[in-house]
Amino acid sequence: MLQVENLTKTYPSEDGVQTVLREVSLSLDAGASLALTGESGSGKSTLLTLVAGLDAPDSGAIRFQNHDLTQMDDAARADLRRGEIGVIFQQFNLIPSLDVAANIAFHARLAERADADWCSELARRLGLAGHLTRYPEQLSGGQQQRVAIARTLAARPKLVLADEPTGNLDEDSSDTVLDLLMSGVRDTGAALLMVTHSLRQAEKLDRCLHLSHGQVSP
């Protein structure tokens, strides 16, 4: 479903050009999960933003369901994100002006795939049923991340990209949130590509790749 081939990404820096990703390749089948680990600055998050179509690589290809993201314009990549890809961020990035219920349904409604029952079910499963009329600022970090997961799953994406989804949570909350994420992904049949620092969490996924200095190693 997802093939990343020879992906290279550089950024200009004060010392010249900094290569963040160097000829990175990986693949991910539908319904499978893959953990990306690596130290800070290894390029994990950059790889995720490229796969999400949020940024464009210098070279290489990203094929998702037979579409090459690198050949798409900004609008087409936006369409793809809206319909097929869900992104979960470390900082939750909820919409502060919408309440929990509206946040959960938001992505699905954008994708014109809103299903009130499914949203309610997700809220129940993620322990948010009692918080639907609250606003993000009124929730704890763990609760906010559960809303972010629910928002992503509510849209039933084919691919879920999670960038250190538990990076801002304590250990207990992290495990709970990750379990909820994985069961949700499993139930929707989506593939999961997750960036994490934690090897313990990475082991819970089907496969794990390590990224170091912009290069992948198994």
Binding site: Y11, S45, T49, A52, L54, D55, A56, D74, A75, A78, D79, L80, R81, R82, G83, V87, F89, Q90, Q91, N93, L94, I95, P96, S97, L98, A102, A105, F106, H107, A108, R109, L110, A111, A114, D163
Partner: protein, 796 residues
């Protein structure tokens, strides 16, 4: 340490140049409009003072006739009784078509306090008395033809005035009577009282002298109120810029305090920084204000001349009073705008986190609290409208109304957007409305400024347009005659009357005297009984058979100004000159600031004073206008002494339009400042909005679409603001028409509504909002993806 700390503090502005520009520009524009208005007022008042000072009216008592002039015999009687008085002739002469005031004085008896010109030079007194030397302002001196005696230009005189010796004035004015007698400050003792020596004359105290200054007070108060409104609108920008700059620098404050900088030192440095910025912006504002004043002064001078007969120089002089006051108001404004921020910094714990986002987000509770205060002010304004009176109360009412409405605006917007979201059907519209609602606190100051500017625009626009409609209709009624003729002397007037007999439908003589009306200077007209008046004269209130009773000499008609000023209604007695008459009716008399009355011509003649009687109004068929004009010019009357109805209407309307040129210009400038406030606020907020926009972008909305939504958001907010500006503007118009105008000018106008103007203003507001949002929206549309990705990468 101080230098390093100060350098660190001001480095903020290098990093945020838009904030710096908005702060300096906001303050400069606010100062410019305020100091421009002050420059105009200062210049005009200086002209009035010069005019009053010419004859020491501001310092010395004087005797004035109750009506007409003071005959030579009265003057001789007073002198013989031992009173030290100096006679003054005062009249007008024509100089190349424009009327100039000519004042004749007796330099030998004029008290030093009232000496209008310096005659201390060698031979000056001799030239003044024997050669008839004239003194005039350089502008007026340039108009004096060679046929008149020699003229000496002097800057100390007001334009439009000529001073000369009594004998020269008597020749030029063709009179031997006096306008007033000035009393020397020291008089011999044991004199017969003036009331016995000259029972027909009024003793006028010096403080009552400056009529023009008193008459024009309301005009200048109007200008000042507009200047203050513009200044207030500008302060919204300054407050917003300072507030954000302080909030964004909280981490820096924290670091500086942690490094050992005393709180008092930090506050001193911040105050110094604000003071420096205020001085720079103030100087820029004063310079801009000078340009504004210089551009507007000729129109103001024309207005004051047309409306009040006040002569004001059309050229601006640099007066330290107003540019110092401009700098002072800039400093004061900065102090007001920055006080809250400085106070918060003073209260700040060292480890308090920065909350630039929180700065822009206020809780619903605080919006409600603010709206509660606003509602209180509106209620107070309503109470003032019901129970208050006076011009000052009128302006306090306006202030309460405008500030009250501005304070309730954010809650109104919040509730309106809430209501709209109930009808929203898509995720995007849900988010747009919710996000717009969240933007309201951050944009509220700019939106309040927009509300004030729009309300002022609607209010003043409605007032001016109502005035225009009423005034035009009134002119049509009042200028019923087809031709207006001015004879050059009494003989010619009699000849013309004979010549026109049988040539026109009616000859309506226009006869009047200058007289004291209820203790204030005014004019009394005498008219003949004619169907023209019965059919056309605009009466606001009247007794039954008013025209029959007027013709029979049963009483007088008075103008609305006099009626309102003295609280006179039909049936009440009114003192005209030395006699009392019952009021038969009240007529509208727009554009005239003084009291005026109408008697039958026969009764006017009984007043025993010289009547000005050189004008006629002629009723005739339109087809005869050319023939009659030719008849008059062939009889030797200069063409400029014959004016048709259209010319007089055009002149009157021109005076009217000029009267409101200044308010119109200030209106536009205020709207411009409000649009700038919106632009700077949107630009400032755009840098803080990425965390809100990035997740939506990540979920599949392009930057271009987000940018379009930013535009839509600004337009929605402007539209809602315009929606509330309409009732506020109409309330403002009502206050201006029913309270301020009545107090200021003495007439009340019916309020006419102009929905076409509102639509125009509504569209202008939407376009201004869209243009204000265009720049930040374009920045968003072209923003590198990396900027948005950074939002997900680390805490902002």
């Amino acid at each position: 340490m101080r230098r390093a700390a100060f350098s660190a503090l001001i480095s903020h502005w290098r990093k945020h140049p838009i904030q710096l520009v908005s702060l300096v520009l906001g303050l400069a524009l606010a100062t410019a409009l305020w100091s421009g208005v002050q420059a105009i007022n200062t210049e005009a008042r200086a002209s009035y003072d010069r005019a009053a000072g010419i004859l020491g009216q501001d310092e010395l008592q004087r005797l004035e006739p109750r009506a007409g002039t003071i005959p030579l015999s009265d003057y001789i009687a007073i002198r013989r009784a031992g009173w030290l008085v100096s006679p003054v002739m005062d009249g007008a002469i024509n100089l190349n078509g424009s009327r100039v005031r000519l004042i004749g004085i007796d330099p030998l008896t004029t008290p030093p306090q009232s000496a209008p010109v310096d005659l201390s030079g060698d031979g000056d007194l001799q030239s003044f008395i024997l050669d008839g030397l004239l003194f005039a302002h350089p502008d007026t001196a340039a108009q004096i033809p060679d046929t008149l005696p020699a003229v000496r230009a002097t800057e100390t005189l007001t334009p439009g005035v000529i001073i000369t010796d009594l004998s020269t004035a008597a020749d030029l004015l063709e009179t031997d009577s006096f306008a007033r007698l000035i009393l020397a400050p020291a008089q011999p003792i044991n004199l017969l009282p003036l009331s016995e020596v000259a029972p027909n004359l009024l003793l006028v105290a010096p403080d009552e002298g400056n009529d023009i200054a008193r008459l024009t007070d309301s005009f200048h108060l109007n200008l000042t109120a507009f200047g203050l409104l513009s200044f207030g609108v500008g302060l919204f920008i300054v407050h917003a810029a300072i507030g954000l700059a302080f909030e964004q620098r909280r981490p820096l404050f924290r670091t500086l305090r942690a490094l050992g900088l005393r709180k008092s030192t930090l506050l001193t440095l911040l105050a110094t920084e604000l003071l420096s910025l205020a001085l720079i912006a103030g100087m820029l504002g004063v310079a801009l204000g000078y340009l504004v004043a210089a551009a507007l002064l000729p129109d103001v001078a024309a207005t004051l001349r047309g409306l009040y007969g006040a002569q004001v120089s059309g050229v601006l002089t640099l007066n330290p009073a107003w540019w110092l006051s401009g700098l002072a108001i800039a400093l004061l404004g900065t102090a007001v705008a920055g006080a809250q921020s400085l106070w918060r910094t003073a209260q700040l714990p060292i480890l308090a986190p920065a909350q630039p986002r929180a700065w822009a987000i206020a809780s619903l509770k605080s919006l409600k609290r603010q709206a509660f205060v606003g509602a209180g002010l509106i209620v107070f304004a309503a109470l003032l409208a019901t129970y208050g009176s006076g011009l000052t109360i009128g302006f306090v009412l306006l202030g309460c109304l405008l500030v009250g409405a501005a304070l309730t605006l954010p809650l109104f917007l919040h509730l309106a957007l809430n209501l709209a979201s109930k009808f929203s059907r898509t995720a995007l519209s849900d988010w747009t409305l919710a996000d717009t609602r969240q933007q309201v606190p951050g944009l509220s100051l700019a939106l309040m400024a927009l509300l004030l500017a729009m309300a002022a625009n609607i209010g003043v626009g409605t007032m001016v347009s109502s005035f225009r409609v009423t005034f035009t209709g009134w002119l049509d009624q009042r200028l019923a005659a087809q031709l207006y003729v001015t004879a050059r002397d009494e003989t010619e007037a009699e000849d013309l009357a004979r010549l026109l007999d049988g040539q026109v439908d009616a000859i309506l003589p226009i006869r009047y005297i200058d007289a004291q009306i209820e203790g204030a200077p005014g004019q009394i007209y005498g008219i003949i009984d004619d169907v023209t008046y019965r059919e056309n004269w605009p009466l606001l209130a009247a007794t039954p058979d008013v025209w029959d009773r007027l013709a029979a000499g049963d009483g007088a008609l008075i103008n609305e100004q006099l009626s309102l000023r003295e609280d006179l209604a039909p049936g009440d007695p009114v003192t005209l000159g030395a006699a009392q008459f019952p009021v038969l009716g009240v007529y509208s008399d727009y554009g005239n600031p003084r009291g005026e009355a109408i008697l039958s011509l026969a009764q006017l003649r009984e007043q025993d004073v010289a009547i000005n009687g050189l004008n006629f109004a002629l009723r005739l068929p339109e087809t005869r206008i050319e023939d009659v004009t030719n008849l008059l010019t062939n009889a030797g009357l200069p063409a400029r002494n014959i004016r048709d109805q259209a010319a007089i209407k055009a002149f009157s309307l021109d005076v009217f339009e000029r009267t409101f040129t200044v308010t119109g210009a200030l209106n536009v400038l205020t709207l411009g400042v409000a649009a700038l406030a919106l632009l700077t606020s949107l630009l400032t907020l755009s840098t803080m909005r990425l965390p809100q926009l990035a997740p939506v972008w990540a979920m599949g909305l392009t930057r271009a679409k987000l940018a379009r939504l930013e535009l839509l958001r600004a337009v929605i907010l402007a539209a809602l603001t315009a929606f509330i500006a309409l009732p506020v503007g109409l309330a403002l118009a009502w206050v201006l028409l029913a309270i301020v105008n009545v107090e200021a000018f003495g007439w009340r106008l019916p309020m006419t509504l102009f929905p076409g103007d509102w639509i125009g203003l509504f569209l202008a507001a939407l376009i201004a909002a869209a243009l204000s949002a265009a720049w930040p929206a374009r920045r968003l549309a072209t923003r590198p993806a990396a900027d948005l990705i950074k939002v997900f990468a680390h805490e902002r």
